[in-house]
Symmetry: D2
Subunit: 426 residues, 4 copies
Amino acid sequence: MNIVIVGLGNIGSFFYNYLRRNKKIIFNKTNTVPNIIYVSAKSLNKKRKFPIPKKIWLNKYLTSTKMKNVDIIVELIGGAEGPAKKLVFEALKNKKHVITANKALVAKYGNQLSKIAEKNKVNFEFEAAVCGGLPIIRSIKEGLIANNINKIYGILNGTSNYILSSMDKNKLEYKDSLSQAQKLGYAEANPTSDVNGDDVASKLKILTALAFNSYINNETILVEGIKNIDQIDINNANYLGYKIKLVGVSEMKKNKITQSVYPALIRKNSYIAKIDGVLNAVIIESNPVGKTVLQGEGAGAGPTTSSLVSDLCSILRGNVKFPFVMSDNKRKFASFQKTDNKKYSAYLRLDVKDKHGILSDITKVMAKNKVSVKRLIQNPTMNKKNSSIIIITHEAKGFSFSKVLSILKKKNYIVNIPKIIRIEKI
Amino acid sequence: MNIVIVGLGNIGSFFYNYLRRNKKIIFNKTNTVPNIIYVSAKSLNKKRKFPIPKKIWLNKYLTSTKMKNVDIIVELIGGAEGPAKKLVFEALKNKKHVITANKALVAKYGNQLSKIAEKNKVNFEFEAAVCGGLPIIRSIKEGLIANNINKIYGILNGTSNYILSSMDKNKLEYKDSLSQAQKLGYAEANPTSDVNGDDVASKLKILTALAFNSYINNETILVEGIKNIDQIDINNANYLGYKIKLVGVSEMKKNKITQSVYPALIRKNSYIAKIDGVLNAVIIESNPVGKTVLQGEGAGAGPTTSSLVSDLCSILRGNVKFPFVMSDNKRKFASFQKTDNKKYSAYLRLDVKDKHGILSDITKVMAKNKVSVKRLIQNPTMNKKNSSIIIITHEAKGFSFSKVLSILKKKNYIVNIPKIIRIEKI
Amino acid sequence: MNIVIVGLGNIGSFFYNYLRRNKKIIFNKTNTVPNIIYVSAKSLNKKRKFPIPKKIWLNKYLTSTKMKNVDIIVELIGGAEGPAKKLVFEALKNKKHVITANKALVAKYGNQLSKIAEKNKVNFEFEAAVCGGLPIIRSIKEGLIANNINKIYGILNGTSNYILSSMDKNKLEYKDSLSQAQKLGYAEANPTSDVNGDDVASKLKILTALAFNSYINNETILVEGIKNIDQIDINNANYLGYKIKLVGVSEMKKNKITQSVYPALIRKNSYIAKIDGVLNAVIIESNPVGKTVLQGEGAGAGPTTSSLVSDLCSILRGNVKFPFVMSDNKRKFASFQKTDNKKYSAYLRLDVKDKHGILSDITKVMAKNKVSVKRLIQNPTMNKKNSSIIIITHEAKGFSFSKVLSILKKKNYIVNIPKIIRIEKI
Amino acid sequence: MNIVIVGLGNIGSFFYNYLRRNKKIIFNKTNTVPNIIYVSAKSLNKKRKFPIPKKIWLNKYLTSTKMKNVDIIVELIGGAEGPAKKLVFEALKNKKHVITANKALVAKYGNQLSKIAEKNKVNFEFEAAVCGGLPIIRSIKEGLIANNINKIYGILNGTSNYILSSMDKNKLEYKDSLSQAQKLGYAEANPTSDVNGDDVASKLKILTALAFNSYINNETILVEGIKNIDQIDINNANYLGYKIKLVGVSEMKKNKITQSVYPALIRKNSYIAKIDGVLNAVIIESNPVGKTVLQGEGAGAGPTTSSLVSDLCSILRGNVKFPFVMSDNKRKFASFQKTDNKKYSAYLRLDVKDKHGILSDITKVMAKNKVSVKRLIQNPTMNKKNSSIIIITHEAKGFSFSKVLSILKKKNYIVNIPKIIRIEKI
């Protein structure tokens, strides 16, 4: 089979070299030789640590989609739009198998792309798009195919997990922990999508569609990042028996799906709370298998290549599958609901002027909106004029919290914007 | 595709009912209808909680292997020999796809069976044979196909793990913990293969062949059970910072593979040491993906059916694979070495008469045989005439330990047979 | 010197036998022979484990106060009134030295008795009245005579300390812990004065007068017992980082003395919190010596006899002292203030109906009365209709708490009488 | 009463000023005015923070012992010989009461001095010589006079306790911890007697004579300092469940007294092990009172003055006592035995070359000399050529340890001098 690789960044380079060196072993495992006929990238002349034979260099990457002798196109450009989008759409339309590590693209256009792939009976493979190295997509589509999944969640981004772990362990503020992560190579120069929840959201939307046999839903999803987590919140969480983790959680209850990405308080002794550093972990709760845990690196050129090759071998072996488990016309327009319609407990931090009667006013606002206090701690802060009120609530509806916060933030005794962090029971 | 199920015990019944109820969803996922044309078992008249239509009852199970309209035979009889063996050999020879949960059969005859399957271009699937529910075989063969595995290990038997966990938690002796497990349904009436290591050995041999692209090796494997673990050893282990777990470990070092099944001291703060109760966990160390962890139930009718259905769907989808990842003639006659040739640390418990000079004699024997003491505790026992010497050794070769023990057990100051438990660094 | 012992109960008997057996050693240490010329008790014929020579039996105990050859009278009858009172007043008036273990008598009439003793230049000794065995009175009057004491406090009653320790350790309710203590001989059949704080109050009043060179003050003292402490309060305290201990505390601040006896929340890692079982401990904070700790049994026939003999030897050696350190006319009519005028933090437990708005109402009442919340926990109780609100307050004046509680207990949402336990910073 | 103070160092100055300011309160407590008629010191002109009236300056301090109007001489010069010795001997011979804080002098000449004092019926008081501020001597002589003491022990030196605490807490070597203590004022420029055990020995010899009614014994006492304690030993102790403390221990068993001063391993959860920093604590085990604990500062000008004043007031009040509890001719020439004749467990650290057979040889030597191993740890050291063997022994006689060590230190596999630290069961 003839392969074109488009994109030769960190991951593309690793993949290209892996393929060159492991041709024989892949043949032994698939009975098919993986033949790289072309590679394409922005510039041939960019300095690389390895030589690229001129004869396989393709100047116009899109022409690959039209070439008869091309079987498989591996998209490693990145980004939901532009060249990556063009390439993948064209490739599938022209009946080329496509392999991609592009979670943004899959999350955004996966519904359309999978329909084209299915129609043209080619594979559209994206194991590398979600937790590189962890065979999570393959496990949902094949290993756990028998199961009725009701919840899938986990730590899906190593960068943000490293930042939060280090804020906790080294008593750092967010900014300092981020710079540290950047110095150590655990965060990119522009870490936006890693820390604002977008990266996790893309992964979670793909997992949700796979887990619940639904279409990808880009609208009804809560996405919050970790930028607003202060060291004091992590301290408070510790004191109260929790860790703060950026989690992605999708859940099916009474035929309604909620998708949420947020930093959450997680009980210290839970499995997830102990996943520190850059590790990823995904937990699937389903019937009849029970609870299944997958844990691994989740990112990096090596683990991502592991996923890309697993997709490649699947195609080489002729293992044609529906991209999202189920035939497109059988997939459900499942009912998604807002996280706000779920009941949950939360941690509130209210920085207030230190006057009598404030606590009573706050609890009055809460009571009126049916948010009930479970635990409360009131500490004078440094400047002694203000104090900080920490509240763990009983379960309440999301919109109740919203109302409470919108009322409170107008109160003249409130010093900073009130902070809410959900508590996730896992 | 037409399916015959042979064997209707606990697992067979669950699988049969699952298939009947989920025909449509499997069709949606595979584009193929799974049609049960026959079932067979010891007796039609055995009391069952569900009815079996007479028209699908097959009296002579072996005839199924000759029927033209049969595509897939699911073997759920059990046992390495007898009917199960006959059925699977005949089925593959007659170009029927075979699915089995029979780890004893696969471990013993897997080399021959896979050769026949490959020759006849049919699938020989046995995901359910190793840690039911955990997609471990699929992950090695597909998800992690790109990787060069150097170590695979874990807790592969829930019954023995439950017994050891409960000995630890409830301060029980082995016998009492076993009876408790039997009462709770975590151990069978005849628990032999669960507690003597055979069950783990079958699983480990299969995993070893898969992980290292080798043939199954039934000769060079160390297998020890948990019957000789005393409560006092678990207590001592705790005191010294360890848990005792029955582990299966396969490792490739300098092109030599060692397969070992034994109860081992595992550092308390390791991942494996925290896996309690009936859970199973498998850890794969490989390149370039790093460390991958899979954790789940590992046994029971539900999880096993999950695995059987994943095999079934793979066949329905036309995903033909080499049963052991690689084409039979490419598999290696890898070099296996005895565990005794590996270096490891160990825990020794020597119950001795309480006389002066004994310790010196013991350490002399050890020194002569190049086993060096790392830690040592000497406690007078109840009757005050004897004392118990606990030794944690530095690393030494397995045969050095054997020599030491064979010399010591002849000493007239030794009261009970000296006990050795290996320390596994994981 | 000729001695009369009046009272031959548990302590009297031990003391009598000690003296008989240790005449010589006491002579060696004091150069004076302690000669028991008479003993007196309710009945000569009561069964005793030792013989009493008829010639030393005195039928009418009061006659001893008139006999010329009597030098020292040891009062071991007990009780603040009746025979004990008569005996001690008569003895001192007739210029006999008096030794007593009677804390109730000393607390009630100590001011008058010490005046008579001083006038008549005889000793009035009562080391045994406060924490038998611990040389606490002697230490204040002699060893620490140079110091300006500002605080004296401790655990002054073994019975109540045992009951609270056992409630904590064995998860018992007050009643069950008391019965257990009675069975073990750590509580008397009628434990009233041990558990209602009266016993500690007597000791504390004596220590206060000694420590601050004041007269004994029987009016301005807060006395609370442990009967109202529930297991749940001890549990809550533990959760919040405290132990509950019955403490006696006397403090001099801005020339005002407060005397308090109450069960209090004490930080777990403090010295006092770790004093468990029947032990007593007294801590003195003074200048220039700093903090001095004395710890010991504090009760029982042996320790009490140790104290009685130390008093006796002091007299035998001719060590005449003012009974309360300072000459009577120099002692201060010091200013005592009510505990309610002190500021302290407290633990509140409010069992309430589970309705919205209650917490707001409670905190409103608190705010109006200047009691501010530091920590708050709200737990649904068993029956699910009520919940329990636990509050740790910031510091507030005692009367503020009183107001808050008197208002709250009238609220119709309050289910049980609100509970307050002070927090003692030691 | 007329008082002469000789010596105006740190303590002398504090005492002098205390007396001047508290004349009235002392009068109120003793009915006697303490009148300083003379002070004497090396130089009148030394810069002091307070004025000394010329009329009370005495040039020749010894003349004070002959003056008729002098009642009490307070010796604050220090040192067992020279001026201090002369002054105290002359004073007592001339029937002056003497108060001293000089532990070296009392320990060395206390037997002779007390005989003179008793003959001349004057007081010889030295409360300040042992744990300044803690009324330990007074408690033995008066408060616990009734008791038969069988053991007295404790932490009697704040400097060494601070150094060991800080070595433990801050992971410092002895030298660094000492410099730190010197910087903080917790150790003197010449810390010799504090760290070599001499200071503790002086105190312990005095306490022993008091506790057991014996003469002071300067010969039969084991004295070891803390200079040889390495950080690694403290680390090892921690690992094994112990703290290392410099303790003084005197014990009476079968009519034989042992006096020992040594750094010892003390179980972490014992009372003594928790005494950190510069605190002192003394524990007395006696009958019938049980266990009595006194804890306090133990040193410094303030606490020492507290003790000096308690001695002064005792004299002012006319409380004449035998200096060592009992009349001199009644004191026992008690039988003292060497610590080596006691049985104890010990911690051994043997740094050895890393060869086979050494452990066997060591345990052979131990067995021959009846020292039995309880626990043993063998660790390779940094340079990898040597290893360190840590042994906790069962109980053995002291001379058995001596033999073992004398044999071992000649072995050519021993790298450093073998280290032994006793384990004290308290």
